[in-house]
């Protein structure tokens, strides 16, 4: 995570992981989301909640897999197999996963009213999200440079495409859940 370009260059030289490589990290991420949700609501790791909520939120890793497919196509990275591309990309999700894990630890070991205040806009926990928010693009950029052998310019374009897909999805999610349009209208009226 600290020397991503060198690490990705080394990892890209490893043998193809096969079909299992295509799904192992996305599956782990879905289970991690389920585990975080389970501990968050019940204070425990319940298999029922891990599987049920992990299945509900599996669309998030699925969407990231789709973004790898789009990046691979756009940047001409077909010399790297799709399972290898997906596996390498998900390695760069470490900072977000660790942050989410820390968030859950907070929820598990402090009272709920305190955890709510920690994640408020002026609370300390939300600011720590800056770390993964700033470091993840560095990892994705390194992934595009090392795995797809993209030039700096092409990797930057890829990063923009990745950002458009990710943030486009976040906005679409809020629009579909009925929140985005009223909040935008309220902001425009202010």
């Amino acid at each position: 995570m600290l020397h991503p370009f060198t690490a990705y260059q080394e990892l890209a030289r490893e043998p193809d992981p096969g079909a299992w490589g295509l799904v192992r990290r996305p599956l782990f991420q879905a289970c991690l989301l389920g585990a975080i949700a389970s501990v968050g609501i019940s204070g425990r790791l319940s298999l029922r909640l891990v599987l049920s909520t992990g299945a509900a939120w599996s669309f998030a890793p699925a969407l990231q897999m789709a973004s790898v497919l789009a990046l691979r196509r756009a940047l001409g990275g077909r010399h790297v197999s799709l399972p290898r591309s997906v596996d390498l990309y998900f390695m760069g999700q470490g900072p977000w996963c660790l942050w989410l894990l820390a968030l859950t630890a907070t929820q598990a070991f402090v009272p709920p009213e305190r955890s709510v205040s920690l994640l408020a806009p002026q609370g300390p926990l939300l600011w720590t999200a800056l770390l993964p928010l700033l470091w993840s693009p560095v990892l994705t950029f390194s992934f595009l440079r090392a795995a797809f052998q993209a030039s700096r310019r092409r990797a930057a374009q890829g990063l923009l495409l990745h950002g458009a897909i990710t943030w486009g999805f976040v906005l679409a999610f809020f629009q579909l859940s009925g929140q985005l349009a009223p909040r935008l209208a309220a902001l425009l009226k202010e």
Binding site: G40, I41, G43, R44, W57, L101, V116, A120, A186
Partner: protein, 297 residues
């Protein structure tokens, strides 16, 4: 698989086993006060297939764990998921799930509870409240902080059934609790009784259903009984600073030894910590170590 990975996987497995024993939680019986049934409710919960984290059926079981007897699923501008939640609740044996909606407009957020159909947010608050009433539902001002005051004209306030005086926003934002109180007192000053409501606005994973809760005194433990109690103001709510809102007689009963039993959410049992700690260590270990690598030949 290397020994550290085996150890991490074993910790995770131990956490899962400990956390799955005794799950799902058992239903609990509401208290009685003479002829009345005293229930704990939360009228503002979001579910997945909206911007909530959990499926409605998981919310039913977790609402039970939090000691809730009833809650409303109130996704933004839709009621489909709430209807699924009510169906699940009937099959799982409760708590009671009421079909609700957070009518989300730019100038106001309004909770409709006891709905049959979705109420449009493209209308002034007074008309939205009438639309809720036309379906036999109850209208509650959601997190009425200063940003939403302009959306509730006096005409709307005179028709409103309830207002949230306890909402997790009070824990998160300085001054929010005071704004909820001022809204409630202003609405009451118009000569129309407003039922105090405590709601969690739970989206997950942070917070908990019932983090802010409403104690209701019912004649009949059913959806109709709950709506009747909401209309007639048979509620008590404790704000974030512990201030009690509601009929002084009901507040006094909740301060008695019998009432105190209803007031606090059930504590997390010992298994939760036993489950959470090794589970965390296992997850963190697997995350940092990653899956086994295929070595070059």
């Amino acid at each position: 698989m290397s020994p550290p990975r085996i150890a991490a996987a074993a910790l995770l497995l131990a956490g899962l086993v400990a956390g799955s024993i005794g799950d799902p939680p058992a239903a609990h019986t509401p208290l009685r006060r003479g002829d009345e049934i005293v229930i704990t409710a939360d009228f503002h919960v979001h579910a997945f297939l909206g911007d909530g984290t959990f499926w409605p059926w998981d919310l039913v079981l977790e609402g039970r764990r939090q000691g809730l007897d009833a809650f409303a699923i109130t996704n933004h501008n839709q009621t489909v998921v709430a209807r699924i939640g009510r169906w699940a609740s009937q099959r799982l044996g409760g708590p009671i799930v009421l079909v609700g909606e957070e009518i989300t407009a730019p100038r106001y957020h309004l909770i409709g509870v006891g709905l049959k159909d979705t109420v449009s947010a493209r209308q002034p608050a007074a008309l939205a409240i009438r639309a809720v009433h036309a379906q036999g539902g109850v209208a509650i001002a959601a997190h009425p902080n200063a940003a939403y005051w302009a959306g509730f004209e006096d005409e709307a306030l005179k028709e409103l059934d309830g207002a949230e005086v306890c909402h997790p926003g009070a824990y998160a934002k300085a001054g929010a609790m005071e704004e909820f109180r001022r809204f409630y007192e202003h609405a009451e000053s118009l000569g129309h009784h407003i039922t105090p409501i405590g709601s969690s606005d739970f989206h997950g994973p942070l917070g908990a259903p019932g983090l802010c809760r409403t104690f209701l005194f019912l004649r009949e433990n059913s959806e109709a009984g709950i709506l009747a109690a909401l209309r007639s103001g048979r509620s008590v709510v404790y704000a974030a600073d512990g201030t009690a809102y509601g009929d002084p007689e009901l507040v006094a009963w909740l301060s008695s030894p019998a009432g105190l039993a209803a007031r606090n959410p059930p504590p997390r049992d010992g298994r939760a910590a036993v489950s959470a700690l090794p589970g965390f260590l296992g997850l963190a270990g697997l995350l940092l170590l990653g899956p086994s690598r295929t070595r070059p030949t």
